[in-house]
Symmetry: C3
Subunit: 305 residues, 3 copies
């Protein structure tokens, strides 16, 4: 019934596309970057896109995504994200990681469309490799990972959430979460799909991906896409409390168990990274796909303009 | 709880067997074909068993199964079904397919028992190949497929439904749906099983197949065997409305996603078709199985007589 | 929501560890065997640990586990269990098996910790082989198997339940069931995991195993870990009634179907038994793991003392 409700409410193209990707400026010549967004992004271009607070007493780090306006996953962002993740993973004092957003109303709007539109195959491949890297690092993390989803979380934002061990979402009916790639005419790759199947099962994933469904928080809870809803102001404190319970389990036993559950899925990408990159680049650089992206960008620009 | 209810209500042998297979006449000498059924079927023998209405303005075809008395899946029927399906698949103007029944109270009663009883291994193998072909074509269809289940849908009728992208069933408690093969002493093959696992999960499938459970519409909705219940007279209009939502998604993105979800399952049969045929023929031609089928046919004949 | 409730209630270490393993005496020199438990077990050392009642008229056997105080799965117990199982499997007159406990309040507390603590690698490997054997025999049984869970059922007790075709549990909120190995710092092997995934799906298993969750009966019903709750005094009669429904299905069709559902999972262990044993032995004999077990045993001894 949640699926039906989602189908009823979310299939309209117009209301959804703005939640798939954000677009951001770039230092290597893009065409349709909306001026407003550029302005906002330049303001933060010299400051880090990720802020990490590690509490040495508890061993819990909170990673704040702060890449306004919508925490889009650009190559620069992903690189910074992975560097921070790697540091925490190597830090013996850090056992748990909470991922959240410093940008109001948005957890992450997903992959940066400007990394896919009007760019070179080389740059596009480099970008995709970074997306892979982020997923591999998160999905295989030895830390306990909790997503504190305090805003919109479509596409890549949903993917980040799905890699975590536990998902807490703000119970705000204006927020939504889902892998809505098909709405834009593009396709979630097999490892996005595998991650979702492992979370909500085959049938819900099939229908959700084919229709590019976005779920409001209560629908997402019902199908198991998130684990817990709380009022928006309690998302982070609830994440911290939940973390305490996860950290009560001996690390080595939890880590071996997590690896047993996830390694086969991670290995599927690890042993196919190059083919997956080629597949993505050849798909996204097709004229028809570039045209879809241009139409979308123009619509987005009109809205913001 | 739905499983328990189904177990409670449906395990009685007597009430169920008439829903597994229908029997129909044949042009190649069978023994126990019930006279009434033969009479009914001869009446329609010169008319097509499938009626297709393609609306060029919407790109949606409605395929009516009209093989009275119970839309049994005979070799002739399956051949006609596949030819029609192939035509639609090749027709660029057709993007969506709704499958429904013109026979009152029955969607399809499943495989024609007369194709399995007292026949030659050659004919039996030919029949099974046609069942495989139907499943492969439906499960891998590039069209959006919706089952408008307006009547009983046991065994092969359930399988047709399961291959579709979406299932809408008439909310009539006298109807039921399920893969009830074991009730008759025969066995659903691995690809029936895979299709059901992909829809309702491993555990529900295990229990459902071992007990040959049939579910009434509300039970079927609860376990995810169907997606939507509506009053009987609204089944087709609801299917048409739902189709509009599915067709709002760009075809190429939906098709690639559908293939990603289903190809591994389809490939398992594609690479094992011949062995699967041999397996079926050697099983079904066993004396003990033929005896089971005879007992069933005699019971069916008494009822109709 | 059931998961959240379980997380909330069950993650405290102290309340849970007594339910993971029982400890029993042994004939080959162990260190921390609690005196009370030893005394109790010696009383029953000459009597069989398994009592089997086979009703020839119905073809249904009831296997009572009677290894007080907590039906711990020692090597001796497992050996006796497997011998009885093998006998019933070979007995053509036996078609169904109900597994239950004669020990009040406990179905089975799981693997005997004294088989893993302070023992030799050889003995430890022999023990693990017996655990494998029990699982393989139960999970692949041709009989209809029903667990009549009339008490606590953690770890190995939960595993026995999971191998059955159907699970009926006493609706007593003081009982619980789950694979809680990580709570003690040890890890459920891949075939425990596979059995649970086949029952409750990937995500519920992932969270359940990582946190070592124990579920009360209503939570267990909600996630599908058990199929049916009844008042404690009705567990066995309900199991008997349910068995009648399962035995209404022709054996050969049910058995082929069961094998189709379970053989791939069983084969994964069958083809990796020796490596799985080596893996277990090298893990369990690590100093750090032995230390964990010692801490647990000391705590257990204080409680009982």
């Amino acid at each position: 019934m949640a699926l039906r409700a989602a189908l009823r409410n979310k299939c309209g193209f117009s209301g959804v596309v703005t939640q798939l990707f954000s677009c951001s400026s770039s230092s290597h010549g893009r065409v349709y970057a909306p001026p407003i967004v550029i302005a906002q992004r330049r303001n933060s271009s010299t400051s880090p896109k990720i802020k990490v607070d590690l509490d040495q007493s508890t061993g819990v780090a909170v990673m704040h995504m702060q890449n306004p306006p919508v925490n889009s996953l650009s190559l620069d962002f992903l690189t910074e994200f992975c560097i921070n993740l790697e540091k925490l993973e190597m830090d013996k004092s850090c056992r748990g990681l909470i991922i959240t957003s410093s940008v109001p109303k948005v957890f992450s709007a997903g992959l940066d469309i400007m990394e896919m539109y009007g760019t070179t195959p080389e740059r596009c491949g480099e970008f995709w490799k970074a997306v892979q890297e982020m997923w591999l690092k998160l999905y295989s993390s030895n830390m306990v990972t909790i997503a504190a989803i305090n805003g919109f979380s479509p596409a890549g934002g949903c993917l980040i959430s799905l890699t975590c061990d536990y998902r807490i979402m703000a119970d705000n009916p204006r927020y939504s979460i889902g892998l809505n790639e098909t709405q834009l005419g593009i396709v979630a790759p097999f490892w996005f799909k595998d991650t979702m199947v492992n979370t909500v099962g085959h049938r819900t994933t099939e229908m959700s991906l084919e229709l590019g469904l976005l779920y409001n928080p209560s629908e997402a809870l019902k199908i198991g896409l998130v684990d817990h809803l709380v009022p928006e102001e309690q998302v982070l404190t609830t994440a911290t409390q939940t973390m305490t319970k996860w950290l009560a389990i001996p690390d080595h036993a939890r880590q071996i168990t997590k690896s047993m559950m996830r390694k086969p899925t991670a290995d599927k990408l690890t042993s196919n990274r190059e083919a997956d990159i080629q597949n993505f680049v050849s798909f996204i650089t097709k004229d028809s796909i570039q045209k879809s992206l241009r139409v979308y960008l123009e619509m987005l620009r009109k809205r913001k303009g």
